[in-house]
Amino acid sequence: MRKSRKVFGVSFVVLMVSVLVAISFSIQAGEFTQEDLKRWDKEFMTVVMKGEKLFHSALGKNKVSCDQCHPNAANTHPETYPKFQQQIGRVVALFEMVNWCIQNPLEGDPLPPEDPKMTALLSYMTYERRGVPLAPGKH
């Protein structure tokens, strides 16, 4: 009798907490407003601008920056990744090629794929290529 009352008590608390949480957010899943869209876009563009700054700065040891070979991130072709990167000999995602460039012509250390700096770089490169249809695998 005591055990079942305990179980009932815990479940009741969990239920009440969920209701309170739902009420406190006062929206349901899947709904978002124009305000939300503006706010999230602003978040994205902030990261794009961070990426632009990184893209135009020395990421390695030799003062060379990505934009020296890739003005406006041109000729990086983010829309073609993942692809068989002929020179590496296997299919890679864009971040691997970015790391190849950081390590080789920029003589720097590679970034982990989830590093905010990598996300910023990829955001900038992709943003500069906006509107171009996806063409994964294209050489």
């Binding site: 003062k63 003005p71 406006n72 000729n75 190849w100 906006r130």
Partner: protein, 357 residues
């Protein structure tokens, strides 16, 4: 050193040179004799020597220039002179100009220099003028009138803005895709000088203009652009033959506008994408141009190079020397009145690596 070792080194060196430099100097004959003599000159450009700190420079760009100088010295017969097409330094620093000049001093022959924006905007050409020479000048050689322009000037208001430091101004101009950049031009004073200079030249004398910026309007976002291009072209219009040779773009380009033939030279440092690769702006790359092969970044020198130029009857034949790739030749075809690539001008002759997107 004993005789055997000396003999070995002599033949080994010659053998290495012969196999490492697969260029034969070809005399292009179009038939017909003209008053001007045939001759050759070498053209090395856009070295972008970049200082890291202390005695360290970016090894990649150093190697590009060193290789070009070494190969240019192997031209046989020796060319009449060499041009350097601008952007010897990356940020106009004394260290960079000195280091670049040291490498260039290995060239066997007279060298004339064209200034680029990377050389100019740190000190507005002060060190360049003290170490190298005037920013604009002309000379005559074997019946051709040569003019070198300073075509990387810009609006005075931009040059004399309240910059934090001269390096801030240099960095602003060095950044190719700078949205707050300023277009290249020769300016009114230089136009007046050019007009006066050309007045003394007969209309039948071939004129060749050396410039860093294209003397055309190709792509403004990257300053593949000369703001007063039309005014300069108008001054060249009265001549029977005029050629403009320009740097800055780090890629093969060529064009014909009326009587004027345009040829871009490659960089020894690194290639730039063709403007059509930037999807957010429209490109006016000359339709005549057959693109160079796409650069393979895993080969450090791919899509870089230097060139030697044959002058025959006042017309220019461009021979692009591309390490790690097939050389390209663009010569003036008198039958069609335009420069043409000798291998690839026909659409059916194009190859996949020439597709850029």
């Amino acid at each position: 050193m004993n005789m055997n070792r000396r003999a070995f080194l002599k033949t080994a060196g010659a053998g290495l040179m012969a196999s490492a430099f697969p260029v034969s100097l070809v005399k292009i004959a179009f038939g017909g004799d003209g008053p001007a003599q045939d001759f050759t000159f070498g053209y090395i450009s856009d070295a972008h020597i970049q200082h890291i700190g202390g005695n360290a420079f970016v090894r990649n760009w150093d190697k590009g220039l060193i290789r070009a100088v070494r190969e240019a010295n192997l031209l046989t017969p020796q060319p009449d002179f060499f041009m350097f097409g601008g952007d010897l330094a990356q940020l106009g620093m004394k260290e960079e100009l000195d280091h670049g000049l040291e490498i260039m001093s290995g060239l066997r022959g007279k060298v004339y220099y064209v200034i680029g924006e990377h050389d100019y905007y740190l000190d507005l050409g002060e060190y360049w003028q003290s170490k190298i020479g005037p920013l604009r000048y002309s000379f005559d050689h074997k019946g051709i009138h040569f003019v070198t322009l300073n075509s990387i000037l810009t609006y005075d208001s931009w040059i004399h803005k309240k910059w934090g430091s001269p390096m801030d101004r240099m960095l602003a101009m060095a950044r190719l895709d700078n949205p707050n950049g300023s277009p290249f031009m020769v300016g009114e004073e230089q136009l007046t000088w050019l007009k006066k200079d050309l007045e003394k030249v007969s209309r039948s004398t071939p004129v060749v203009v050396f410039s860093h910026s294209p003397i055309q309007k190709i792509f403004k976002p990257w300053n593949f652009w000369t703001q007063d291009a039309e005014k300069i072209q108008a001054l060249l219009k009265p001549f029977e033959q005029a050629t403009v040779i320009y740097g800055h773009v780090h890629q093969i380009e060529y064009n014909q506008i009326g009587n004027i033939t345009f040829h871009a030279v490659m960089a020894t440092a690194w290639p730039w994408p063709y403007p059509e690769s930037y999807s957010q702006a429209a490109s006016c790359l000359p339709k005549l141009t057959v693109h160079m092969n796409r650069a393979d970044p895993f080969f450090e020198r791919d899509a870089t190079g230097w060139q030697f130029i044959n002058v025959h009857n006042g017309k220019v034949g461009m021979h692009y020397q591309l390490p790690d790739n097939k050389n390209r030749t663009v010569v003036f075809n008198s039958k069609v009145g335009k420069p043409q690539d000798v291998d690839y001008q026909d659409y059916n002759s194009r190859i996949p690596p020439q597709t850029h997107f």
